[in-house]
Structure formats: C-alpha cells, structure tokens
C-alpha cells in the first residue's frame, strides 16, 4: 500500500483510495494504457487541491499506480510534493492484487461514522455473469488457474461500502465493462477481490449512501485519448466536480451533489468538453442529497447549436444578451462551434442570431444559467 497524503482532522473527514492501472505485465498482448495513470494522478491532484473544500476535509489518500512508461518498482506519483505527503521519496506501489487488498482494507477500516469515502479506479474492466463490474489489476492473467482473480469487484464494493458508517461514499470507475467469453465460461466467475462482506442483516439495516458511477455501460466501452491525458469520463468528472455539477444546499452553499453527477454528467460532457457520446451507468441505486465538494463560484457551460448544425458557421452574428439587454458573449464569425460559460446564478440570457438575407432564419432563444449545463438548440 502507498499512503501519499495524511493529514490529521478532527471530525468528519475524507479518506480516498485511488488506483491507476495501465501496465499489464502478464497478458500476452500489449494492452497498456497511459491515460488510466494520468486519470489517477489528476484525481489525486484534485483531492489535494480541494482538500478543504471537500464537504468532509481530506485526511488520507492511498494510491496504487502501474504506469506503462516505467518498469514495476519504479512507479511514481509525479506531482509536486504536498506538505502532507508522508513518503521519503516519490515511489508508489504498483496496482497488484496483493497491494490493493492491503490498501483497500486499510482504507475501509479508517472510516469513522460521518466520514466520506472516495474510491477511484481507472484500468481495463470486464463484467461478470451477474452483471457486476470488475476492474483489472496489473497482475491479472498471472495465474493460469485464476486468470481474472487479480481484479476488484467494484459493483460489490458500491453495494456494501455504506456499511462502514460513512456519511457519503463516492465511487468512480473509469473502465470498460467488457463482456469476455473466457471469463463468462468460468463457472465460479472471476473470484475478484471483495473488500467487504457484510451480512444481509447489516446491509438491510444500512441506508445506501454510496453514489457509484461507471464511465461505461454494462457490456460497453470507456474511452481514452491516446497519450498522457486522462480518460474521457475522468476528464468530464473533473470538469463537473471542479466547476459545474452543483446545487445550492442550506448551510453549504454551492456544492457538487450526487444527483447532479448521476444525472447531468452527460450534459456537462457535451456542453463543456464536446464529448457527446459519454455513457455512464450507476453501479448501485442512490437517491440521497449527498454533497461532495463546495464550489465558491460555479459556472454553467453552455453550448449553442442550430437545428441544422452547418448553419451555425454561416451566421453573420450570434450574440448572447443578459437580462438587461447587454451583449455578453459573441460567437466568433465562421466558427462552427460555440461554447461559453456563464456564472451559475440562474440569470436569464437571450441568444439572437443574424444570417444573410437569403440564408436561414432562427428564432431568438432564452435560457437560464442553471447548473449543471445548458444545451441550446436554436430552431428555425
């Protein structure tokens, strides 16, 4: 296990367990992925940067990395040193089953009533016959008799982690949920790591406070850019938890909520990052008003489109006016995309457009600056 952040906190606090696995030492083909490690590093950076804005301030981060750019034993965090980093050097343990079991156990045992638990994993992923999502570790395929055992059952974790008494749990799984015949043919399934085995009675007595979201649907794929940027789901998640997936809550102000993340991440992906095809899936039922992180001045990403998209680039003028009639945003002439951000204050805006005399005409369109994102279609 690798503790990369440790800060004593009185009262409710957040404990995080982050895994980025992009090196797979035993699988016969090259399936390495740089983006998964980049995703894990970006999440660690986010948690450290927002340590005091988290609804339960950050106390610890356990991290495992298997970076395809280096050999096993040379994995590093590669972020500026934090004042709360207890390590002597920058080394991090690789994402092997053995380390994950230890770090996972330590992470769950740290939880006191009222704390928050955060779990993030980016890696390759598969699904079991019972539809559970499995994240693969570096050493999967290392045992010819148990080829998929070096993995973690993320769905099972999502359904059981609330029994640790946390006020809220946040699970983010950026991986495919691929259907692999070889795994389906195994009568007992993967035998992947199960971190908690609470009794049915305990489960029944515990309300589910876990918001668990995967960056792919059952049987589907998660995607990542080639190179060293995080996978797309993680990019969208970071955008949402940094700026836009907020609701106004008494005593807290603007906070990122579980409901916003569950229902609005696709809109944020489209409006903010031009990712129209993000398909997320909740790994466990969740209907709480849990809050994750405070945002002092949230913004709403806005994308404006014409019903015939090709017309957008032909507009002579396209302007967003505020409620006082002042022009506040202008679409650059010729641009075939128009994205901007406005403060998340609920203010009303109006989009007006002008085309050539023999061109199309589009109606004015109003929108309110309500989170998490606004997708505006102008109609003729």
């Amino acid at each position: 296990m690798t503790l990369v952040y440790e800060r004593p906190i009185d009262g409710p606090k957040t404990h995080a367990f982050v895994i980025g696995c992009g090196r797979f030492s035993h699988y016969p083909n090259d399936i390495s992925r740089d983006a998964t490690v980049a995703g894990a590093r970006a999440i660690v950076a986010f948690l450290r940067d927002k340590a005091d804005e988290l609804v339960a301030p950050l106390s610890t981060i356990e991290l495992l990395l298997s970076d395809p750019a280096v050999e096993q034993g040379s994995d590093r965090l590669d972020l500026p040193k934090s004042a709360f980093d207890p390590r002597d050097d920058d080394k991090v343990d690789p994402a092997l089953l053995e380390h994950a079991a230890k770090a996972g156990s330590t992470w769950t045992k740290r939880c006191n009533p009222g704390d928050h638990l955060v779990f993030y994993m980016s890696s390759h992923g598969v699904v079991e016959r019972d539809l559970t999502a499995i994240g693969l570790f570096e050493d999967f395929y290392s045992d010819e008799d148990k080829r998929f055992a070096q993995a973690i059952n993320v769905t099972q974790l999502s359904r059981t982690v609330s029994t640790k008494g946390a006020a809220a749990c946040w699970i983010f799984f950026d991986a495919c949920q691929e259907i692999v015949t070889e795994l389906l043919e195994q009568p007992d399934g993967s035998d992947a790591l199960v971190l908690l085995t609470p009794s049915i009675r305990k489960l029944a007595q515990t309300p589910n406070v876990c918001m668990a979201l995967a960056g792919s649907r059952f049987g589907g794929s998660a995607w990542a850019p080639k190179g060293s940027k995080p996978p797309f789901f993680t990019q969208v998640l970071l955008d949402a938890i940094t700026r836009s997936a907020v609701a106004l809550m008494p005593n807290l102000g603007w906070v990122v909520t579980g409901q916003r993340l569950l229902f609005d991440l696709g809109k944020v992906a489209d409006a903010s990052l031009e990712i129209a095809s993000l398909e997320t899936e909740a790994l466990t039922p969740f209907n709480r008003e849990s809050a994750f992180v405070k945002i002092a001045a949230p913004e709403v990403p806005v994308v404006v489109r014409t019903m015939v998209e090709a017309h957008l680039g032909k507009a002579q003028e396209m302007v967003a006016f505020d409620a006082m009639g002042n022009p506040v945003r202008f679409k650059p002439a010729g641009d075939v995309k128009w994205r901007f951000r406005v403060p998340a204050d609920g203010a009303r805006y109006k989009i007006k457009s002008k085309f050539e005399p023999d061109g199309p005409t589009y109606k004015d369109q109003e929108f309110d600056a309500d989170p998490a994102a606004q997708i505006i279609w102008l109609t003729q």
Binding site: D270, E309, A310, G313, V336, I375
Partner: protein, 377 residues
C-alpha cells in the same frame, strides 16, 4: 495557375468508362480539392505498358465453378438493420460520410446521367464539407434510426453547399447509397477483414502484383516506357513556371516517387526546362512507396540505409493519403522523414477501398483543407 499531373494506379486500362472516370475525377479535383482556383490537370496514361491481364490464367473465375460454402451470413445481409448507418456514424461519422459519397457517386455513374452525377457530387461535397467542419454532430445521439440519419445528413449537406448556383433538387441519392452500402458497413461495425470477398480481391491483387513486377523488373520490361509516359507531362508542367503538384494513385505514387528520388531523372527534367526541378507537392494516394523503399526496390535505394530515409529530393512537400480499409496502402511516416500520412477513411468494403478514394468527397474536401493550410491554393 497550378499545374497538376495525375498518375493512375495499377489495373487501369483504356476502354470501358476510363475517359468518363478521368473527366469526373478532374472535375472533382478542380471544383472541390482546388476549390475553383485556376488549375490544369494532365493525365498521363501508362496502362498500355502494364501486364496483359487477359493472359493471366491463374486468376480463378469465381462465377464459373466455385461457390461459397455457407452463405448464411454473407457479406450482404438480407435483413437490413434499421440503425446500421447510425451505429457506424456514431463510431466514425466522417468514414460513413465517405462511404456514402463513394456509394452515391458510383450509383450515379452507373445511371449514365451526367446531370444526376453532378447533383450527387454536389450533395456528397456538401456532406463532406460538413463532416470536416463538425467531427461528431450532436444530433447523432438524438435520432433513432437510419432514416433520421439520412434526413439530417441531407439537410446538413444542403446547408454546407458552397455554390448555390445549381439547386440540389429532390435528393434521394443518399437513400439509394445507403441501401447499396448494407454489406460494406459491416466492415466497420463488425470489424475489418471479416467480410472480405476473395472472388473480388484475388483478380485485383493479381493485376496489382503483375503491374508492380512489370515495372520493377527493369528497363526491358517496359519500365522505361512507363517512366517516359509519366515524365513527358511533368516536363510540360515544369516548363510553365507555375506551381506543380504531382498526384499518384497506388502504383502511380510509386512511379512518381521513383522519378522524384532519382537524381538522373531530375537532371533530365532540369536540362529540358533550363532550371532545376522541384515539385511543390507530391501526393501519393493508397500507395506502396514505403513498403518498396523498405524492400529497396527503387533506382535510388541504397543497401543498409537506416530509417528514416530521406524524402524524394524532387518534391518540396509530400503527403501520403490512405484509407485504413484499403489493403493495398502502406504508411510512409515510419519509413521516411518529411512526409505526412493522413487518412480519409471510408466504410467502403475492403474489396472496394483501394479504388474508392476518387469517388469519396471526403478525400477531395480534406485535400482542399490541407492545400489551403499549406498555402498552395
């Protein structure tokens, strides 16, 4: 004025629709790729010096004694999926637009109506312009099936037309093209190679191999004749003291590379024009230049040369265009310095992809964008 010399690829022979194909290709280059700028195209014909394909007895006649064993899930499924196009477009919108344009233009060519062909080309050019401008339209995720997809794409294609002088009329070109594509789309959706048809590929590959070896065997085989046929229009273009752009499809790219990397050939051009020659741009399309360089088959090839090799001295700029579905293309970037590979993917069936570049408006539109960016038009 820009002087363009287009060198055709293997298995191109006079007769049939050769002249119509040249005229259509010239029109697409001038209207779309060169965007209506002043340009002149020469089309040297070297096919008469290639292999006599009629004499090859080893090419199996698939229509006679052989039948496929199976046929349950052939390359043209009987039951058309209502979302095959849409599914493919969500994965690669530009590739589907490319495939539709190839299919629509092929159908229009078969109809024999010049007016239909021109209208279809304009529709396809509009769709390609849209696909280049908007990589992944948002409405792809809001529509339900292929009918919606074709309706929306046609709207976008109309709106993306540069030239409004010719009305598009009733355009069902994409609908027919989509029906015609049913088998080819499965190459994208179900994975490449799966639906390859040997009955189509074998003769093409045989002729390809025949022409290649015919050229590479040496002077006596007709190589000198081929080089001469290609060199003459290049010299004529060079004499005009204007921009010279050389475009070679498949083996045509190999021939151009061979000429432009050979100092003796460049000396000949220089002697005839009275000044050193360097083409402003070489475009190789669906070509094998990289493979043959690694096999050291050119005049200029040197034994044990380390990669990356130098680009041809006779070209200031070199672009190598490919379609990943084309089994006869090879990339050049890993083999040469100073070359840019770029793709104009279609979902055309694997058997069609090698010849589909010049029916794909995505090719001309992307080329137009690059020519503008490079300051060549």
């Amino acid at each position: 004025m820009t002087q363009i010399v287009f060198v055709h690829g293997v298995a191109t022979r006079h007769g049939g629709d050769y002249q119509d194909a040249v005229e259509a290709r010239d029109r697409r280059f001038l209207d779309v790729a060169f965007g209506g700028t002043q340009a002149e195209i020469a089309n040297p014909y070297w096919g008469k010096f290639g292999t006599d394909t009629g004499a090859l007895k080893s090419i199996p006649d698939m229509n006679a004694a052989f039948v496929a064993l199976g046929g349950i899930g052939g390359s043209k499924p009987g039951a058309k999926s209502a979302t095959a196009l849409l599914d493919a477009a969500r994965k690669d919108f530009a590739a589907v637009v490319g495939a539709l344009s190839v299919s629509a233009i092929s159908l229009a060519e078969q109809s024999g109506s010049a007016e239909d062909l021109e209208k279809t080309e304009r529709l396809a050019a509009g769709a390609a312009a849209f696909a280049v401008a908007v990589e992944q339209p948002a409405w792809l995720h809001q529509i339900a099936d292929d009918d919606d997809f074709l309706a929306r794409l046609t709207e976008e294609a109309k709106a993306s037309q540069h030239d409004k002088a010719v009305p598009l009329g009733l355009l069902d070109g994409f609908q027919d093209a989509a029906d015609n594509l049913a088998g080819g789309l499965s190459n994208l959706v179900n994975g490449p190679i799966a639906k390859a048809g040997r009955e189509i590929l074998t003769p093409k590959i045989a002729v390809f191999i025949g022409d290649v070896f015919h050229y590479l065997k040496g002077p006596a085989s007709g190589r000198d004749d081929i080089r001469k046929a290609v060199l003459e229009p290049i010299i004529r273009a060079a004499k005009k003291d204007e921009k010279v752009i050389l475009i070679g499809h498949s083996m045509g790219g190999v021939i151009l590379f061979d000429l432009l990397s050979d100092p003796k050939t460049l000396e000949v051009i220089g002697a005839k024009t009275g000044k050193p020659f360097r083409a402003d741009l070489l475009v190789t399309v669906g070509s094998q230049v990289g493979l043959f360089a690694e096999m050291q088959l050119y005049e200029s090839s040197k034994k044990d040369a380390l990669l990356p090799l130098a680009p041809p001295v006779g070209a200031a700029l070199w672009w190598n265009v490919f379609d990943k579905m084309d089994i006869l293309f090879f990339v050049a970037e890993p083999v040469f310095s100073g070359v840019s590979d770029f793709s104009v993917d279609t979902t055309a069936g694997i058997a069609d992809a090698h010849g589909a570049y010049f029916s794909s408006m995505m090719f001309y539109t992307r080329l137009n964008r690059r020519l503008i960016d490079a300051g060549l038009i």
